[in-house]
Symmetry: C2
Subunit: 483 residues, 2 copies
């Protein structure tokens, strides 16, 4: 049974999502159409995502910097594909300080252009390369149909921008960051994403090649959870990003860009959530353990609350993120539901009997009902809790992986079978010639496009025939409906 006010997933997944995001206090609509308010609990989750990514960026030698929100309109026009891709989505400032501007300013939809301008100034010689920069920022893309976290007019993200001396180096960086994203998604977010190359049609506007990590949501739809782009010399030529090499010859740089946004929060919600609400992976959960004290009589309050406070201090001391729900005006049952909705991985209950017996009850969010509940000694509790959190982290990844694998189908028979799989909300892995015509046909027949050519091909070195047109194809791609 779903929680009060939450549409069951089986009834309407999309409404379930919106219900849970709001009931779990992650985010809310704003008075500005298309913009969202990220509430404290949602922002804490985003801070955990940021911390996990930022640590990995710094470990791989990247430095954070900050570039202007506003970009001169003329900058966007310097890269032909780029301006074509982003023009329909721009928010434009035309008035500043009460006066019309001579040149309108675009609110950044992404920062390749303005960072390209800076790189041109910063890079002189091969000694300045590679230049490895990341920016945490807000960006704006004018979206007509928006959904909390998944597609909003303004969103928060990080955008990495790097410059290299050779195409080989730039490509290695592109793949390294795709690997960083995969590592984060799998090991921190417990989402078994599939890394791969986007088709030419689905490339970033201005890139030579785009790569993505694709995640499967619990309605079977795909969600692109991060992208990494090999920009070739496109932006280097548009912005004159040049360096003198070891022979003193002037060369154009090779650049990359890569990004993950607040969409990742939506991915976490839809990859793990159930009809009771969120299920957060312990590594990212703002609260890993919630303590709910239970007593019927006022005379029991003091001893139960004292034990609860002592346990909270002990777990906090051990570096765990723990919260004691000492609210007077709610029943334990209400609190159980509330913390289940918010996806706290582990609930710790303590009552008068537990105080007497030196025990507590631990209830796992990932295993419902009695099966997920056990009584344990307060001795060695830190170790018990740590082990359980590790187990929950692994269990969420395992459940998501099993779910994913049961909805992936390699289709080599014929186009009809292929389209039926995709129409049915499953993922089809099939030979694909990568032509725009074939991509378009699938879009018309199944409201779906290719997700990516997975790096891990099932038949490496082999060739096949495109499932759509029958022409030779060198790689297999996933097709699925997507967010």
């Amino acid at each position: 049974m779903a929680q009060q006010g939450v549409t069951p997933q089986s009834e309407d997944f999309s409404r379930w999502y919106t219900d849970v995001v709001q009931k779990a206090d992650l985010a809310d609509y704003s008075p500005v159409r298309g913009c969202m308010i990220i509430k404290p609990y949602g922002y804490e989750l985003w801070e955990a995502v940021k911390a996990g990514l930022d640590r990995r960026f710094k470990e791989t030698g990247h430095k954070n910097a900050y570039f202007p929100l506003f970009i001169p309109e003329s900058f966007l026009k310097k890269e032909a594909e780029h301006v074509e891709g982003f023009s329909p989505e721009l928010a434009v400032v035309t008035i500043g300080g009460g006066k019309p501007l001579e040149e309108p300013l675009v609110v950044r939809p992404t920062s390749e252009t303005i960072i390209g301008w800076a790189f041109q100034k910063w890079i002189q010689s091969y000694r300045d390369l590679p230049l490895l920069i990341n920016q945490w920022a807000n960006v704006v893309r004018w979206e007509l149909r928006t959904r909390l976290f998944l597609r909003t007019m303004e969103f928060l993200w990080q955008e990495g921008h790097t410059a290299h001396a050779t195409h080989e180096d730039a490509l290695a960086e592109t793949m390294r960051m795709l690997g960083v994203y995969t590592d984060f998604a799998v090991n921190d977010a417990a989402i078994p994403v599939i890394p791969g190359r986007k088709s030419n049609q689905e490339r970033f506007a201005g890139a030579v090649a785009s790569y993505s990590i694709e995640a499967m949501m619990r309605d079977g739809k795909a969600l692109q959870a991060g992208t990494s782009h090999d920009l070739g010399q496109n932006f280097a030529k548009a912005f004159e990003i040049q360096f003198t090499d070891e022979n003193n010859d002037l060369q154009y740089c090779w650049t990359t860009s890569w990004g993950v946004s607040t969409r990742m929060v939506g991915a976490i919600v839809m990859a793990h959530g159930d009809d009771q609400g969120l299920r957060l992976p312990p590594k990212l959960a703002p609260i890993q353990v919630v303590i709910v004290p239970i007593f019927r009589e006022e005379s029991q309050r003091a001893s139960v609350m004292a034990a609860a406070a002592r346990i909270k201090a002990m777990l906090h001391e051990a570096g765990l993120r723990v919260h004691l729900d000492d609210r007077d005006n709610f029943s334990p049952g209400y609190k159980f539901n509330d913390w289940e909705m918010r996806g706290v991985p582990l609930r710790l209950e303590i009552g008068p009997k537990d105080v007497a017996n030196n025990t507590v009850a631990l209830a796992r969010r990932d295993v419902p009902g009695k099966e997920g509940k056990r009584f344990v000694s307060q001795d060695g509790l830190v170790g018990t809790v740590r082990d359980l959190l590790d187990d929950i982290q692994a269990s969420l990844l395992r459940q998501a992986t099993e779910f994913r694998d049961s909805h992936l189908h390699e289709v080599t028979s014929n186009y009809q079978d292929f389209i039926e799989v995709v129409r049915g909300g499953e993922w089809a892995l099939a030979w694909f010639c990568e032509s725009a015509a074939c991509e378009e046909r699938v879009k018309e027949d199944a409201q779906a496009v290719s997700r990516n050519f997975p790096l891990e091909q099932p038949h490496p070195g082999e060739q096949g025939k495109c499932i759509i047109c029958g022409q030779p194809a060198r790689e297999m791609a996933y097709f699925a409906k997507a967010y």
Copy 2:
């Protein structure tokens, strides 16, 4: 002697500032007039400021959240003083997705209005109070005369917004956050700021009372480094932020807001820097210790570099922020200058003799020349370095405090003396009646305004006569030229 390309402070402090900010790689101008690019080294310094503040906000019960960049123009108009104060400074989006907007969107200059809208939705009962929210964000104010970090069209900041059941609680919060800012400035940034109340003329647009921390720069000018506002019920009434109290009566909330911005980076530069460049307080320095290996002959390289790497690992292991400058293409002398410019608190030199003797040389940034240099054993080096960093932190605060105190003058004699002090670039502490006419007269006569009425009054409980008009005055205020 000043470093190459740096104007001495005594010659032109303002040019010194711009030279150092650029030479130390903190920031750069951008192609958009009034916007700046925060370079990696400057951004790391800002990250340290953020971390120091964010920790304190969380310790005092605040939660981070995120609100939209765009604010409907009509929102700003709901609070009369607020719109009057900010109207001339707005950047306005009039085109979105290629079409003119029905209602223009203002790029937030501050977020009282949109957060007020959210608070109205979030708060129902006294149980929801206090609501303690902070936001890390970019804001835009259309400035004509801009300077890196000090005054830029777009800047980064945090803005706290809280709602309370009583005016007493709101005022306590206003003062608590002023205290948090003071604590951060004094103990982390080593800047002996003066907390106090702004005059009515210098209040935030829409506040009942504004408080600030005022810092003295090394040219004697004042810089407002943080503000905390008691907003009374002004925004609560404009946005209908109401709650039902314990008697079930509907009441308006009392709100506060408070902010510190990337200006703080400018304050750190100008409170400590000298003709050699930055001098960063160890608690905030991105690099606390820089290791410069020194050898003349190629045969000495291996042993020196091995020792340098070992020491780096040891210091890093101990949690210190350490950098090994292993660049081949620069001489040790060049490196010394470079790291002095960047304000690294401690330089560690190691050469062949040191390797043989198990020593290193340590040179303090805050004490120039031989006096600041000593040779120490590699045994117990972590402790030696820690002690020295503590000492440098204390020394920078002491130097800044001595400098400040030698430029503060209590003036009780007459207006002429008072104006001469302020005109001469010093701070005058004087009885002030707080009238607009008096404030205006000082502005005309000395291009200065009141900074604040310090919380710590020299003659508590006493009254005096306004140094400007001679009318009764209940408090003394600082007057100074300011950034």
